[in-house]
Symmetry: C2
């Protein structure tokens, strides 16, 4: 018997889309996280239960295969399943389908449980994973590291100060903000002329309120298709907060 799949619908609002009326990656992440929270709550192991154990679920990596990003006013169905897990890692998948039933996005993600006080990873308690009927495995699927920026590449850089409204109800920077910082480093002329086809993002270190982070990106225009941009977010001490790789295709105007 496989893991339980949970689904919910959402109609995309104007404030979840960008200048091209397309859902932003940040808002899409928020929507899938909401689906996973709604699943955990429906199974009786929501954040109120998990927090009593002194721990919380944290995402360490997302890999997204994008057929197309939905547009404003579309009603999408978000489905999720805690596919498999081992002692320290859980592998969760998400699917976004449009009203016609076509797959728009498939997301693979790696989750850990972290102690709230020590911020250290702890083994996943049986009580909070059992209700998902996930398969217990030796090794969860590897998503591969995002391609690294190299020192000799020409970098686009922008700085961001963590704002009050970047902090969510867990007291941490909402995961979706990293997507805004990563992508905003690219020129608008590029962003409005290319569609995302793949995202690989790995979270290494947490940033805090009032930290200033540097978003670095490199646009490899000298290579053939697919177009790849490599990114990282650095903290003030030079540590890497996030590494990411985005794949793009030019928008063909009809």
């Amino acid at each position: 018997m496989g893991a339980t799949t949970f689904s919910e619908q959402h109609q995309i609002t104007f404030y979840e889309t960008d200048v091209t009326n397309t859902v932003t990656p940040a808002m899409l992440i928020n929507m899938i996280i909401l689906a996973s929270e709604d699943q955990t709550t429906s199974l009786g192991v929501g954040s109120d239960v998990v927090i009593k154990l002194g721990i919380g679920w944290v995402v360490t990596q997302y890999k997204m295969a994008i057929t197309r990003l939905p547009k404003v006013d579309e009603t999408i169905t978000i489905s999720t399943r805690a596919t498999c897990y081992n002692r320290y890692f859980a592998f969760r998948e998400f699917w976004v389908h449009d009203a016609a039933g076509a797959e728009c996005v498939h997301v693979e993600s790696i989750w850990v449980t972290m102690n709230h006080q020590t911020r250290k990873i702890v083994s996943i308690p049986d009580d909070i994973i059992a209700p998902f009927q996930s398969e217990q495995v030796k090794m969860i699927p590897r998503l591969g590291r995002p391609k690294r920026l190299t020192p000799e590449e020409q970098l686009l850089t922008k700085q961001y100060r963590v704002r009050y409204f970047d902090i969510d109800g867990n007291g941490h920077v909402n995961n979706s903000r990293y997507f805004d910082w990563l992508l905003d480093a690219l020129p608008m002329s590029f962003l409005t002329r290319h569609d995302l086809t793949e995202i690989n993002i790995r979270f290494e270190n947490e940033v805090q309120y009032h930290h200033v982070v540097t978003s670095e990106a490199t646009l490899m225009t000298d290579v053939s298709e697919p177009i790849v941009t490599k990114h990282r977010i650095l903290m003030e001490n030079g540590d890497v907060a996030t590494e990411a790789e985005f794949h793009w295709q030019p928008i063909i105007k009809h």
Copy 2:
């Protein structure tokens, strides 16, 4: 016969709330704007129709009376009515009620129609206002100007660069972003310990992609209740983009 009232429901998600799990003013503005857009569309005078006239609706001022800001997971009802108008100005009201029917927020707003090319205000065409059955009046209600910052006051200031994801489908900075810039100028220790009771915000000049704006705020702690913060957003040339005044009350912990 009064103006037609339009209502819709919305369940507040975690990504529409702040560190205290309370809906952010920015997201509340997005939700009420969505209700007004859904009303205009339902009456056959949506943005697709208005844009054909070479114009668009623009908000110049909001005044909000806040009984309480709703929390995450609450289902709210947003109602709106284009109460009255004259040649150049339309006065629109919004109400936010909670599931028990109690009023949470009442918003008064002033709208104009602006020519897309010249960015100048034009008289409101009959065709696009008639369906609302608004009362035609000589003078619409005045909302009063936000209190002005004075040069001798000690200022809190922060700078913001307009980002790609601040631009909405109309090609302009989404109105809600100004609320984030205005409020983020205040310390987190103040924001988490006070509830908003009143907002008065007036939009003077549009900011554009890549502009750097300065958010200035002054916290008048020397006066008795209510606590008032005065704000403005300045453009690089020193022109005022936005003026605002917020009223607050200390949160009493039970």
